[in-house]
């Protein structure tokens, strides 16, 4: 066997450390090229949307074509604010992780447009099922940064009562579902939530987010199948940031076909969008939400973007990709692009931007100061560890009560 040559096709990386970045594999399209069909269009009429790329912002930072959502300056400034806030928050949390104040962190740097545009385009009653890289959803829905930080600190104000890894946030009142460490599990759950909304005759829709790598999991298929069979009012988002930890998107099946094409291939609409183009993401989300709300069915949205940071604080991307790759990414930086668009419109300036950055930096600093006052992993005040035995069941069964007693004896032995 060793004698014969292997004939197996193994996808090869576009570029490895030391190589020139190479994005020639990325199928692009000029802004404004794709038309915006009626949102009730048949599944089989979305093949072009699924294989093409919806873009609004062109290289001169101007909005082009039918997908322009025509948002006013105020909304765009709010959007920019949310995106900048997200990035500053991420940078700060990464730093405090390095300082050992939290155990783990995941940045969304370079992907801010996806969460911010989608959260803004959806309605407050819509239920969101985030992945661990969608902090922008929480920020747009008004989550208090101090609360997010407190979760990362597992401190006395932690919404998860110390039970979850950092970034596994949730907010029942803001309709943000509990984040799971297990990839893609939220996908069929979002479909089920949407089915229930339809069964109840309500107008609320659901939206879920996973990464490119996560599309290989079984729950991706479960979600698409159930969404197709029952035409569930749900938006299924694939954030294709080109990487799944160390493996690039070809290992998730992006080499032969776009991820958006899984939509029509499995019986739901599919759209591929420039994930770093705030306007395009906003418009596509509106379109899919309109479709879902009208009962015309689900949409799979692939957001083409780039993971600007490490996978997580446990990862070192310099081992597997060129440092310069992000700078060479043809779709650029979503914050920079929206900023330049606003400036081009005469609605923004470098000076105002610097002021914004300074204001939000101070805000993040203040929130961090407040959050740490509720305790850190290492310094008190600490949560009562007996919380560990609660919320497994609504009522604590005998074996857990006995174990809590045993734990108390163990502690008091101190």
């Amino acid at each position: 066997m060793a004698s014969k040559q292997s004939r197996l096709h193994v996808p090869s990386a576009p570029a490895r450390p030391g190589d020139e970045p190479d994005f020639s594999y990325l199928k692009l399209m000029p802004a404004g090229r794709l038309g915006r069909p009626d949102s009730h269009v048949k599944v089989n009429e979305t093949h072009e949307l699924a294989s093409g790329l919806v873009r609004v912002l062109d290289d001169n930072h101007e909005a082009q074509g039918q997908w322009d959502p025509h948002l006013d300056a105020k909304e765009l400034q709010v959007a920019l604010r949310h995106m900048v806030m997200t990035r500053i928050f991420d940078d700060r949390m990464q730093r405090v992780q390095r300082q050992g104040k939290i155990s783990f962190y995941v940045k969304s740097t370079g992907e801010e447009a996806v969460s911010v545009a989608q959260a803004m385009a959806l309605q407050p009653g819509d239920m969101l099922f985030p992945s661990y890289r969608n902090q922008g959803l929480f920020i747009v829905r008004g989550s208090n940064l101090t609360d997010l930080m407190s979760q990362c600190l597992s401190n006395t104000r932690d919404m998860c009562k110390g039970r979850q890894l950092p970034v596994m946030y949730h907010s029942a009142e803001d309709k943000l579902f509990s984040i799971s460490g297990n990839l893609t599990t939220q996908y069929p759950q979002a479909v089920g939530w949407a089915m229930a909304s339809a069964i109840k005759g309500e107008q609320h829709i659901a939206a879920a987010w996973i990464g490119d790598g996560s599309t290989a999991e079984a729950d991706f298929h479960h979600a698409l199948t159930f969404a197709a069979v029952y035409q569930a009012p749900v938006l299924l988002n694939v954030v294709n940031n080109q990487y799944a930890i160390s493996t690039f998107q070809a290992f998730a099946g992006g080499e032969q076909q776009t991820f958006a094409a899984r939509g029509p291939g499995n019986g739901i609409a599919g759209v591929r969008v420039d994930g770093n183009d705030f306007l395009a993401v906003y418009a596509v989300t509106q379109w899919a939400a309109e479709r879902a709300r009208a009962g015309a069915g689900a949409t799979l949205i692939e957001h083409v973007t780039y993971r600007g940071s490490a996978h997580s604080t446990s990862d070192d991307p310099t081992r597997y990709r060129p440092k310069e790759e992000w700078a060479a990414f043809p779709l650029g930086d979503p914050i920079e692009r929206l900023k330049q668009h606003l400036i081009a419109n005469g609605d923004w300036s470098d000076a105002r931007h610097d002021a914004l950055v300074e204001e939000l930096t101070e805000h993040v600093t203040a929130c961090w100061r407040e959050a740490t006052s509720y305790g850190t992993l290492n310094e008190g005040p600490h949560l009562d560890a007996s919380l560990m035995f609660e919320d497994i069941f609504e009522k604590m069964p005998a074996n857990l009560r006995a174990q809590r007693e045993q734990w108390r004896r163990e502690k008091s032995g101190d």
């Binding site: 069929p188 089920g192 909304s197 069964i199 979600a223 199948t225 159930f226």
Partner: protein
């Protein structure tokens, strides 16, 4: 009171739950128009519509995953997995999601999902229609595990499970769907109509989770069992003429350990019986817990009577099945000293 077999009792429980609470929905493979391959959901779609008794794609992971989402959105799904042997494709959604949601969200989210699934052998189903995986689910913190042994309990426990805001995996011993079974396949089948537990109220009632049931009082030895084996144990005790106290665990998680230990402390001897394979199975937990609480009362080793550590073989199911002989041998071992 009416005469019901277990299928009718389960059907009645779902009917009543759907009638009392519009948020209860039934879902699963072939459960809708067809009424289920074992007919447990017969008539429910006709009565409550195809939006509340829902035929699903063949994807156990999808069924449980969407049921969780429905539960989070205010419904109370009762999902049928056609055979317990086919629950594994949905295992991750049960263990990582259904069991963890309340905990990881500090109680802010939960999904009141009941998963019904037929288990056990003795129906010539071969290795993929005969399994009893209850021990696996009992090990997963956050899941309630139930297995009734008769129509009365089946209806009452299912209603209690549906009403519970915590998830339940509800195992239905399919060998006794139509009648009690004493372990002797050569005897003519008997129906539930002649059995006291085949007397089932037509209306609403519950049998609370977390309570074992002493089905027969006795003084010489305690038999701890559940599901089909309750009837085999009763027959074995009768055949061996042993004054055995027989306890039907019914609710495997949470476990009513006190009822078990009280009995074993009284009899000083214990036999545990289940149909599932032995190694690292649920019987091991029963044995370990009872030993911890009753050690000084025990006069002989706790015996386990189980299926062998093999798959359930099509041609040899009565060699595999833990019948009266295997129980009697264990009773003898438990009673010698």
């Amino acid at each position: 009171m009416a005469k019901m077999n277990m299928i009718q009792a389960l059907n009645s429980a779902m009917d009543i739950a759907m009638d009392r609470d519009p948020s209860v929905v039934v879902m699963g493979e072939d459960v809708g128009y067809f009424g289920g391959v074992f007919r447990c959901t017969d008539g429910l779609q006709r009565k409550y519509g195809e939006h509340r008794c829902i035929d699903t794609p063949i994807a156990e992971g999808g069924i449980i995953g969407t049921a969780i989402g429905m539960g989070v959105n205010g419904l109370r799904p009762v999902a049928e997995i056609q055979f317990a042997d086919y629950i594994y494709p949905g295992f991750d959604q049960v263990v990582s999601e259904l069991a963890r949601l309340r905990y990881r969200s500090a109680g802010d989210f939960y999904a009141p999902v009941t998963i019904r699934t037929p288990c056990g052998g003795g129906i010539r189903g071969g290795q993929t229609h005969s399994q009893s995986p209850e021990g696996i689910f009992a090990h997963v913190s956050g899941i309630q595990v139930v297995m009734p042994s008769n129509p009365y309990d089946a209806k009452g426990l299912l209603l209690a499970s549906i009403e519970s805001d915590d998830p339940v995996v509800f195992f239905e011993p399919k060998r006794i769907y139509n009648g009690p079974f004493d372990g002797d396949p050569d005897k003519p089948a008997v129906g539930w109509s002649s059995h006291p537990q085949g007397e089932v109220p037509e209306g609403y009632y519950t049998v609370p989770l977390g309570q074992a049931n002493v089905v027969r009082e006795g003084n010489d030895v305690t038999i701890v069992t559940y599901g089909t084996m309750v009837h085999v144990a009763e027959a074995a005790a009768r055949a061996a003429d042993v004054d055995a106290e027989i306890i039907d665990v019914r609710s495997l998680q949470p476990l009513d350990l006190e009822t078990l230990t009280t009995s074993v402390n009284k009899t000083g001897r214990c036999v545990i019986a289940h149909e599932a394979t032995r190694f690292s199975g649920y019987g091991a937990e029963l044995s370990a817990s009872i030993q911890e609480h009753c050690f000084y009362a025990l006069e002989a080793p706790i015996q386990r009577v189980t299926g062998w550590d093999t798959p359930y073989p099509h041609a040899f199911e009565w060699d595999y099945f833990p019948g009266q002989k295997r129980i009697i041998a264990a009773l003898e071992a438990a009673l010698e000293d």
